[in-house]
């Protein structure tokens, strides 16, 4: 197991190196100058050039990239040229917001998907099954920003159960502020999760060991949960991992709708301001999270299915 993890981590280093190179190259290939953005339209070319020199942006690109890598190796993510504060401070503040939003979303997604998939699988081919199978079509047809606004209009403006965006200042307010964004995340993940989990359950519930367990007189719920669900969860975990990685990118939209100060919002303003260090660092963190989520999914397979032995 530890050899497997070490091997995967070594692969990750290569992946992350590729991500840094691609992000750096793309950012510098796209026209746009942060000094010009900061100084505004009245600044002269000489003033822009002066700031470029001060920030080291007039140096050759390979030298700038090498500097960036050396800084990264020292754990230094750089300084935001727009806000003039360390990028690590900005990310340190924003990342917990995004992770908390995804965690709440994943919780809601799993909490909704498991009973729905069980219901559909148990009542295969009947009305309940059809209803649950239509759900993905409806869910996938709704863009997250639209779902977000509908939730805000219903639960914040009409029923007034939750705040209309923002993040609050206390832990209780933070949690309250994450409910609707979490539901929006769940609206995106649940349909796919339900569909894959239902398929896996239908497959598992028809297998010999489930029939054998039922024949041995085990309680229905025990057969469903201990034997059926546990086996069906393996492919579902994979789907959830892929979706969470996808949603990390989608957090830009959801955070914008709810006015959440997460890394998505940070990335967006970073792109607009050509704030190189912010964009590079957030992209790197996203890449790191995606590979870690996938590693987590692999480890979860092993935990859920004893037949899976990692590293062979």
């Amino acid at each position: 197991m530890s050899r497997y993890i070490a091997g995967r981590l070594a692969q990750f280093v290569l992946v992350l190196l590729g991500v840094t190179l691609a992000t750096f190259a793309l950012l510098h290939l796209v026209p746009g100058n942060p000094a010009r953005t900061l100084l505004g339209a009245h600044a002269t070319a000489a003033e822009v050039a002066l700031l470029d020199r001060e920030w080291g942006l007039s140096r050759p690109l390979p030298a700038q990239y090498a500097d960036y890598l050396v800084r990264l190796l020292h754990g230094n993510l750089g300084t935001s040229i727009y806000y003039q504060v360390p990028v690590s401070t900005l990310i340190g503040r924003a990342l917990p917001v995004t992770l908390a939003m995804l965690a709440v979303g994943a919780f809601f997604g799993i909490a909704a998907a498991i009973p729905l998939a069980l219901l559909a699988a148990v009542r295969q081919g009947r009305a309940a099954d059809h209803a649950v199978r239509i759900l993905p079509l409806v869910g996938l047809g709704m863009p997250p920003f639209w779902v977000g606004f509908i939730l805000l209009i219903v639960f914040s403006l009409t029923v007034r159960l939750f705040p209309a965006g923002g993040y609050g200042t206390t832990p209780a307010q933070h949690l309250e502020s994450l409910i609707l964004p979490g539901l929006t995340v769940a609206a995106v993940t649940t349909p796919i999760l339900v569909r894959s989990l239902r398929l896996a359950l239908v497959d598992v519930l028809g297998s010999d060991f489930v029939i054998a367990a039922t024949a041995r007189g085990l309680a229905r719920w025990r057969v469903l949960v201990r034997h059926g669900l546990r086996n069906a969860l393996v492919p579902a975990v994979s789907v959830l991992a892929v979706n969470l990685g996808y949603l990390l990118g989608g957090s830009v939209v959801i955070e914008n709708v709810f006015g959440l100060p997460g890394v998505g919002s940070l990335l967006l303003t970073g792109i607009f301001n050509r704030d190189f260090d912010i964009v590079q660092s957030v992209t790197l963190i996203y890449a790191l999270l995606v590979v870690l989520i996938n590693l987590g999914a692999d480890l979860a397979y092993a935990a859920l299915d004893p037949r899976v032995v990692l590293g062979r």
């Binding site: 026209p31 746009g32 900061l38 505004g40 503040r93 403006l157």
Partner: protein, 519 residues
């Protein structure tokens, strides 16, 4: 609500002669000044479009930072609510020497910084001197100042290199706000992280990129003000989210509400604040592009564009077509009339030009994703087609648009201007003066008569004479058409009915010390 303090005689003469009515256009008022007895207390939340970036007055250029800084630090004279007048701020009066070179300012007594320290001439001298930094983005405004000296604890003398009529307006620029001598012993960088001034509020906390909280300055010099305990600015980039937050009472004032939603918000009981602004949108024509060197081609292009329709379309019925190169809420504006929206005249003008049949292609640069720039580019493209002039739109990163403009790699572009000071000198020097560093807003337009009139206006103190000079400048610019002036649009705010006394001045700043919350 407005600051109403005694205007010294000399200033009053200046204002009266400037044609200042002292009134405010009622159309833009979100709230009448007399909407009840102000109540103390309450915490106001304002949703702004982009976060404050930097308060260092030598480098900052974003409006959010400037307008927030106005709540914290104040200038010797302050812009008046009508966009044309000045009212005493930290100075109570001034006198001008016979040579018109020395301005002696008498400072207000009893003014304290938010630290409790009294403000004296030492602080004023330091503040203006630090603004004179040649590296400052705003140095061009203070460039005529030769020296600043203290002539007693409450007297300051400013000497200019030449007689300089716009000085009082220049001193009202945020970059000339008064801060403690030597930044109160802090480094420049540390000071501007949490700047200290004599304004109605002081900075309590600032989470860069997210929110900024101001709390009342207990030492503020206007008795009984400010009314609010705190003002929190939240950066909410999505316009629809700002509207939702207003409706959910997460915010009581929102900036830049979508124009398309204004009617619905008004019907729902919210207060619309369409405040007269100094914004003017215009399309520049690069005269290094050969066809635009011919004034008849420029006039033909101007004639062909229906600015009324453009302003209506782009600002959802809230824009107004320009009738002068100057804005109505700026001193010395004169509605001289412009060549616009007449295709027959455009054809006739083009026929008499060096390109009688058109047949050339214009490179129109526009900021990618900028709704105004891209919409205007498309309309210009359609409206120049009948003249057999092709328009190729090149969408670029906003900073790249400016870079291409400043290196003259473009044919046309849409841009806009808002005034930072009340005197038109700032705008006319930048947009029309061919001898200035801006090459007449990067058009390479050069009219020696306009340049000479601009210089004369700078050294002329008599307002009638200045009015005559600026009227001539406006007429000449309209006749030469170096630029297509599209029109004027208001600042767009929406507030909850509980907000009173909120008024945005034509330069974009609001005096939040006058704002109070009811209920």
């Amino acid at each position: 609500m407005r600051i109403r303090t005694a205007v010294p005689a000399a200033l009053a003469v200046l204002l009266l002669a400037a044609g200042c009515s002292g009134g405010v256009s009622a159309a833009g008022s979100a709230d009448s000044p007399a909407s009840g007895k102000p109540v103390h207390g309450g915490n106001l939340v304002i949703d702004i479009e982009t976060p404050q970036q930097d308060f260092d007055v030598n480098t900052t250029s974003d409006n959010e930072s400037i307008w927030t800084y106005d709540q914290v630090a104040q200038t010797l004279y302050l812009n008046g609510p009508d966009g044309r007048s000045l009212v005493p701020g930290l100075a109570t009066s001034y006198s001008l020497s016979a040579s018109k070179l020395q301005w002696t300012f008498r400072l207000r007594h009893g003014v304290r910084f938010s630290t409790g320290a009294p403000m004296t001439s030492k602080d004023v001298v330091f503040s203006i001197e630090q603004a004179l930094n040649p590296k400052s983005t705003w140095n061009f405004i203070d460039a005529p100042i030769k020296s600043v000296t203290a002539a007693g604890p409450y007297t300051v003398v400013i000497t200019t290199k030449t007689p300089w009529a716009p000085l009082l307006a220049d001193l009202a620029l945020f970059a000339n706000a008064i801060v403690p001598d030597d930044f109160g012993g802090q480094t420049r960088a540390a000071f501007f992280t949490h700047p200290v001034g004599t304004g109605p509020f002081k900075i309590k906390s600032w989470v860069k990129g997210e929110s900024l909280k101001l709390v009342r300055n207990p030492y503020y010099w206007q008795p009984g003000k400010p009314y609010l305990n705190s003002v929190t600015y939240n950066a909410v980039s999505d316009a629809s989210t700002r509207v939702v937050q207003l409706k959910g009472n997460q915010a009581q004032i929102i900036e830049a509400a979508p124009f398309a939603q204004l009617s619905a918000l008004k019907a729902a009981g919210y207060r619309l604040g369409l405040f007269p602004s100094t914004r003017i949108d215009y399309v520049t024509m690069n005269e290094l592009f050969k066809p635009f060197k011919d004034p008849r081609v420029r006039l033909a292009v101007s004639d062909a564009l229906n600015t009324r329709a453009i302003m209506q379309a782009v600002f959802f019925g809230h824009g107004q077509a320009a009738d002068s190169p100057l804005m109505p809420d700026v001193s010395y504006y004169s509605p001289v009339g412009l060549h616009v929206g007449n295709l027959a005249a455009a054809r006739k003008e083009l026929a008499s030009s060096s390109y009688p049949h058109g047949g050339f292609s214009i490179d129109f640069i526009a900021g990618a994703g900028d709704p105004v720039q891209t919409a205007v580019a498309q309309i210009v493209q359609a409206e120049l087609k009948p003249l057999n002039i092709a328009v190729k739109i090149r969408e670029l990163d906003p900073s790249e648009v400016t870079a291409q403009e400043q290196s003259f790699h473009f044919g046309m572009r849409e841009t806009y201007w808002t005034m930072d000071i009340i005197d038109p000198d700032e705008y006319v020097s930048f947009v029309l003066d061919g001898q200035a560093g801006s090459f007449a807003n990067f058009t390479h337009f050069n009219d020696p008569v306009i340049d000479s009139l601009t210089s004369q206006a700078e050294v002329t103190f008599n307002s009638s004479t200045r009015q005559a000079l600026y009227t001539r400048i406006q007429r000449l610019a309209a006749a030469d058409a170096p630029i297509v002036w599209l029109g004027y649009s208001p600042y767009d705010y929406v507030s909850s009915p509980a907000v009173h006394g909120f008024y945005v001045y034509p330069e974009g700043n609001a005096h939040l010390e006058n704002v109070w919350l009811s209920g």
